[in-house]
C-alpha cells in the first residue's frame, strides 16, 4: 500500500484528538551501590560468569576457559580491550582464529568466541556488543562459549544510563546487542535449558 495513503488513513482516524507529549519518565529510579559487585552478582544470577582482571592478566581468563578442552578452536576479534590470547590457546593445544579474516566459517566451528563489549550495566548484569568493525555479530553468537572483555570505565549503573549513552551515539552500526546471560529456554516442560541457539556459557571480564 502507498505510504502516504497509509499514513493519511491514520491521520484521518485520529482526527483532531489531542496530540500528546511524553513527559520524561518519573518512576524510573534504580539504586545501585558498588556497581562492580552488583554487576557480578546480577550476571551470576542469570547464569553467566563474572571475572575481574587488570590489563596484564586479562588473558588468564581465557586460559581458565579453555583448560580441559581438547584442541579448542578460539575465534578472537581485535576490538579494544581484547588481550592477546595466543599463549593460553597454544598452551591448550588449540587453534587461534582471527576475526574477521577467518570468516563466518570459522565462527561456525569455533568452540570459543572472544570479543570486546562497549558497556556493562550493573543493574542487570548486561553487556553491549557492537557489530561495527573490528567486531561483528557471529563471534558472540555462533560459538557455544562466549568470553567478553569490557573496560571498567564502560561500567554503567543502570539500564536507563545505558540508553542515555545509546541516545548520544553519533552514528550506529547495523546491530547493537544487549546480552544478559547465556542463551536459555524454558519451552520444554517449563524446565531450564541453556545454550539453545546462542552460547550456553558466557564469561564477562571487567578489565581495570
Amino acid at each position: 500500500m502507498d505510504r502516504s495513503a497509509f499514513l493519511e488513513r491514520i491521520r484521518d482516524r485520529l482526527g483532531d484528538s489531542e496530540r500528546l507529549e511524553v513527559e520524561g519518565p518519573s518512576g524510573w529510579e534504580v539504586r545501585v551501590d558498588g556497581p562492580g559487585e552488583r554487576f557480578a552478582a546480577e550476571l551470576e544470577a542469570v547464569g553467566g560468569r563474572a571475572h575481574r582482571a587488570s590489563g596484564g592478566n586479562a588473558a588468564g581468563v581465557v586460559a581458565e576457559v579453555v583448560a580441559g578442552m581438547e584442541h579448542p578452536k578460539v575465534l578472537v576479534t581485535e576490538e579494544p580491550g581484547v588481550p592477546d590470547v595466543s599463549a593460553p590457546v597454544a598452551a591448550a593445544g588449540g587453534e587461534l582464529l582471527r576475526w574477521p579474516d577467518a570468516g563466518r566459517a570459522a565462527a561456525e566451528t569455533a568452540e570459543v568466541g572472544v570479543t570486546g563489549a562497549l558497556w556493562a550495566v550493573a543493574e542487570t548484569g548486561t553487556i553491549v556488543v557492537s557489530a561495527a568493525p573490528p567486531g561483528g555479530r557471529a563471534p558472540s553468537l555462533l560459538p557455544p562459549v562466549h568470553v567478553a572483555f569490557v573496560s571498567a570505565d564502560g561500567l554503567l549503573p543502570t539500564v536507563a544510563d545505558l540508553f542515555r549513552e545509546l541516545s548520544a551515539m553519533p552514528a550506529y552500526p547495523s546491530n547493537l546487542v544487549l546480552i544478559t546471560g547465556p542463551s536459555k529456554s524454558s519451552d520444554i516442560g517449563q524446565e531450564l535449558a541453556r545454550g539453545v541457539h546462542g552460547p550456553g556459557e558466557l564469561h564477562v571480564v571487567l578489565v581495570e
Binding site: R19, W99, S167, Y172
Partner: protein
C-alpha cells in the same frame, strides 16, 4: 494426545475440549502460577513499579496519539540506515510482499523468530504455497510447528506440551528414540535448527518495538534465535504491527523494563537486539538487505475510538496468566492467534466486529487483567464495551425482549416487590437448590456452561429488616 480444536465452531465447544483434558489444565495451572509469582517478584525489584507503569501508559498513549508522525519518522530513519520499508494494508498485502522478497532472494528456506504478527497474517501458509519452507526457530514455536498446531500463549507458545510430548515429537522427526529430558531434547533442536540458520536464504522476525527517533528496531529473545534470524541469513524481513512504536531510547528503556518483568519475570530479556538496517559496507557480517513491513490489518479502525487503548499492548502475556477463564481453558479455546483478555479485544479490531461477541463473553469481568497490565489497558472495560456493541448489533430478538422486560420489571419498587415474591415461589418450588438446567431454549443455553444459583426462600430485604 493433542486435543482437537475446531475454529469453525464456537468458544464454548473449544473450551469443552480443554476442560476435558486434565493434563492441559495441570500444565496451565503450574505455568500460570509460576509466571505470576515471577512477575510479582521481578516487579518488586523496582523502587516504584506503579509509577513506572503510569509512565509506560503515558508513553504508549502519547505515541498512539501521534502514530502517523512516528511511523513516518521510523520509516525515514530505517531507510536512511539503508533498509527498505513496506506499508502493508492487510494480511494479503503483507504476505505477498514477503513472498516476493523471498523469491527475489532465491530463498527456498526461511528461518523465523517468534512473531505474532506473522501468525496473524498466516505467513507460513503463504510461504509454503510459494515453495519456501518456513521453519520456526523459537523452541516453543518449533514444537508447536512440528505438532501442526497453533501457539497457545503469546510468550510460551508450547505451554500445553509436556516434556514427554516434546520427546515423542522430536523422536518421530529424528527417527530415533530421544529421552524425555530437557538437555538432550534442547541439544537436538539446537543441532537441527543451527543447520537451518546457516542454510536459510531468508530470516523473518517480528518486532517488539520500533524506535522512531533513531529509526531502529528492537527485538528480544531468550534463546538467541532473534539474533540468528536477523544476523545469519543474507536477507532479513521484520514484520511489525503498526502500533508497536516508541519515540526514543529513553522510552524504550521503560518498555523493556516492564516487558521482561511482566512477561517472564526478567529484569531484561537475555538478548535485546537493536537493529539499524542492513550490514554496513565495512562490517564483517549481517544481512545485506533489511526489510521492514509495517502492518495495519484493521488496526486503524481502532484509532479515535474507545478501543484505541488496546493498541497500547506490548504483548507481555500477563493478562493471560491471571485470567480465571484462560487459566481453565488455555489459548487454543480462544482463537488461533491472540488469546486471553487482550485477544478478545484485539481480534475484533483485526478481524472485524463479527469476531467480537463470543470472546467478549469469555470473561468474568473480574478485572484481574487490568490489574496485571503493565501499560494500564482498561481491559475489562473494553470487554464490557464489546458486549455493549454486540448487544446493540447482534443480540437475538428474544434476548432483547427478555432484557428489556427485565429492565422494566425492576424499574419501580412496586414491581420489584412483585418479582421478589415470584422469586420466593421459585425458591420454594426448587427448595433453594442451584439449577443445573433451566427450561426454554434461551435459558437452557445459558446453563450449558453455568450453574444458576438457587433462589433463596426469603428475599434479601426481608432478611435485612
Amino acid at each position: 494426545m493433542s486435543a482437537e480444536y475446531d475454529y469453525g465452531k464456537g468458544f464454548s465447544e473449544r473450551a469443552a475440549v480443554s476442560l476435558a483434558d486434565p493434563k492441559l489444565r495441570a500444565n496451565l495451572a503450574y505455568v500460570n502460577d509460576r509466571q505470576i509469582s515471577s512477575r510479582i517478584e521481578a516487579m518488586s525489584s523496582l523502587k516504584d513499579p506503579d509509577a513506572l507503569r503510569d509512565d509506560a501508559s503515558r508513553i504508549r498513549s502519547a505515541v498512539l496519539s501521534r502514530l502517523d508522525e512516528h511511523l513516518d519518522r521510523l520509516a525515514t530513519g530505517w531507510e536512511s540506515h539503508g533498509g527498505t520499508v513496506y506499508f502493508a494494508d492487510d494480511a494479503t498485502d503483507a504476505t505477498s510482499y514477503v513472498r516476493n522478497v523471498a523469491l527475489e532472494a532465491g530463498a527456498t528456506l526461511a528461518v523465523k523468530s517468534k512473531s505474532m504478527a506473522s501468525e496473524e497474517i498466516g505467513l507460513n501458509r503463504a510461504l509454503e504455497d510459494a515453495g519456501v519452507e518456513p521453519v520456526e526457530t523459537d523452541l516453543g514455536e518449533y514444537i508447536v510447528q512440528l505438532a501442526g498446531e497453533h501457539p497457545s500463549h503469546i510468550i510460551t507458545p508450547s505451554i500445553h506440551k509436556s516434556k514427554q510430548d516434546v520427546a515423542r515429537l522430536f523422536s518421530e522427526r529424528a527417527g530415533e528414540e530421544l529421552p524425555a529430558e530437557v538437555t538432550p531434547l534442547a541439544g537436538y533442536a539446537r543441532t537441527v535448527l543451527r543447520e537451518k540458520f546457516l542454510s536459510a536464504g531468508l530470516g523473518i522476525s517480528g518486532v517488539n518495538f520500533g524506535i522512531s527517533g533513531p529509526g531502529a528496531l528492537c527485538l528480544v529473545t531468550n534463546e538467541g534465535n532473534g539474533r540468528m534470524c536477523t544476523s545469519v541469513p543474507p536477507v532479513h524481513v521484520a514484520i511489525m504491527g503498526m502500533e508497536r512504536v516508541v519515540g526514543t531510547f529513553d522510552e524504550l528503556a521503560v518498555m523493556l523494563a516492564l516487558l521482561g518483568r511482566s512477561g517472564t519475570g526478567q529484569k531484561l530479556t537475555q538478548y535485546t537486539s537493536l537493529l539499524f538496517g542492513p550490514r554496513r559496507a565495512d562490517e564483517a557480517d549481517g544481512p545485506s538487505e533489511s526489510h521492514l513491513v509495517i502492518l495495519d490489518n484493521g488496526r486503524h479502525k481502532a484509532l479515535g475510538t474507545r478501543f484505541q487503548d488496546a493498541l497500547k499492548c506490548i504483548r507481555c502475556g500477563a493478562c493471560l496468566n491471571v485470567c480465571p477463564v484462560f487459566r481453565q481453558v488455555g489459548g487454543h479455546a480462544y482463537d488461533p492467534v491472540y488469546s486471553g483478555p487482550i485477544g478478545a479485544v484485539l481480534n475484533p479490531i483485526i478481524k472485524g466486529p463479527h469476531a467480537a461477541g463470543e470472546l467478549a463473553h469469555a470473561s468474568t469481568l473480574c478485572g484481574a487483567c487490568t490489574e496485571a497490565c503493565p501499560v494500564r489497558i482498561p481491559l475489562h472495560d473494553l470487554l464490557l464495551y464489546l458486549r455493549q456493541d454486540y448487544a446493540g448489533r447482534a443480540a437475538s430478538r428474544s434476548e432483547r425482549i427478555a432484557y428489556s422486560s427485565w429492565a422494566r420489571a425492576w424499574a419501580t419498587e412496586g414491581r420489584f416487590r412483585v418479582f421478589s415474591q415470584a422469586g420466593r415461589v421459585l425458591g420454594a418450588l426448587t427448595r433453594g437448590r442451584p439449577l443445573r438446567r433451566l427450561p426454554l431454549p434461551l435459558l437452557s443455553r445459558w446453563t450449558r456452561g453455568r450453574v444458576f444459583p438457587g433462589f433463596p426462600r426469603s428475599s434479601y430485604r426481608k432478611r435485612r429488616t
